[in-house]
């Protein structure tokens, strides 16, 4: 008897795209969070960075004889300003700068002498 579970296992993808993760480094200073990712063989246009707080997601596709689909998602807190996310891709390495909202950055308050 074919159970639903067995049926599910028999379903194959129509495309042989492999879905993989990728290594990241994550740093933080008072102004931003900096994420550095190894994403070899990707066209910069094929990199999608989605900020949907509290989720932050990177998706990319590497074309070629063996297409690869990269995807990782992270939880960031509400201190990130979704409008101020910048990214740069060079030599297979992606750098994403996630700026913190002004309200959460340390401020120096000047004390006026009266």
């Amino acid at each position: 008897m074919e159970t639903q579970e067995q049926h599910k296992q028999a379903i194959e993808k129509t495309r042989s795209t492999r879905e993989v993760g990728f290594p990241v480094d994550i740093f933080e200073n008072e102004n931003e969070i900096l994420l550095v990712a190894d994403l070899p063989g990707v066209d910069a246009k094929q990199i999608g960075i989605h900020v949907d707080l509290p989720e932050f997601r990177i998706e990319a596709k590497a074309e070629g004889s063996e297409p690869v689909s990269y995807r990782r998602a992270f939880r960031v807190d509400e201190r990130i300003d979704p409008e101020r996310v910048n990214a740069e891709y060079k030599s297979g390495v992606l750098e994403v700068h996630l700026a913190k909202s002004a309200a959460f950055r340390p401020r120096r308050i000047e004390v006026r002498a009266s």
């Binding site: 492999r18 879905e19 993989v20 993760g21 990728f22 290594p23 990241v24 480094d25 994550i26 740093f27 933080e28 200073n29 969070i33 900096l34 994420l35 550095v36 990712a37 190894d38 994403l39 070899p40 063989g41 990707v42 066209d43 989720e55 932050f56 997601r57 070629g64 004889s65 063996e66 990782r72 998602a73 992270f74 939880r75 960031v76 807190d77 201190r79 891709y89 030599s91 297979g92 390495v93």
Partner: protein
């Protein structure tokens, strides 16, 4: 402050108080475990390589993100392909590190190729962190088409 979206530690603890919550936590943890099979490359420090036979040439493809041309050395002698590559991973100044998965490496490898290569015609390109070598087969290793004659 950044954690993987499906990190175990961020999930609610199992308990009888919230049966649905626990089930969903369990399911998500299962997803995470199975997801990690597909994510075999996430924490790997070994660059990925592939070798393809294109008929008149072999094509070698290797992933070297963040490696400069000057830190890559390729040598082909007969059937032996030798590779040297290295990269440094530097921590930016003034930042605290939350996660360090990218590794620095120094790699020296030799591969025995299935056929002899014409070393003079080898081309190497490094683009978007991917090294592609086109290794034309030596004349004696070129595929030959044999015409079948009808008797």
């Amino acid at each position: 402050m950044l954690a993987r979206w499906n990190d175990w530690s961020s999930l609610p603890a199992f308990g009888f108080g919230q049966p649905l919550g626990s089930l969903s936590a369990l399911r998500r943890e299962m997803d995470r475990l199975f997801g990690d099979f597909e994510r075999e490359r996430a924490d790997g420090d070994t660059p990925q390589f592939s070798l393809t036979d294109r008929g008149d040439a072999l094509e070698f493809r290797g992933e070297f993100p963040g490696v400069n041309e000057k830190d890559l050395e390729v040598q082909v002698t007969g059937k032996i392909l030798s590779l040297k590559a290295s990269r440094k991973v530097e921590e930016p100044k003034g930042y605290a590190a939350h996660r360090r998965e990218r590794n620095a490496f120094t790699l020296t490898r030799s591969y025995q190729l299935p056929v002899a290569i014409d070393g003079q015609k080898v081309t190497a390109t490094l683009k978007q962190g991917v090294l592609t070598l086109v290794l034309p087969k030596a004349a004696e290793a070129q595929p030959k088409r044999i015409t079948v004659n009808a008797a």
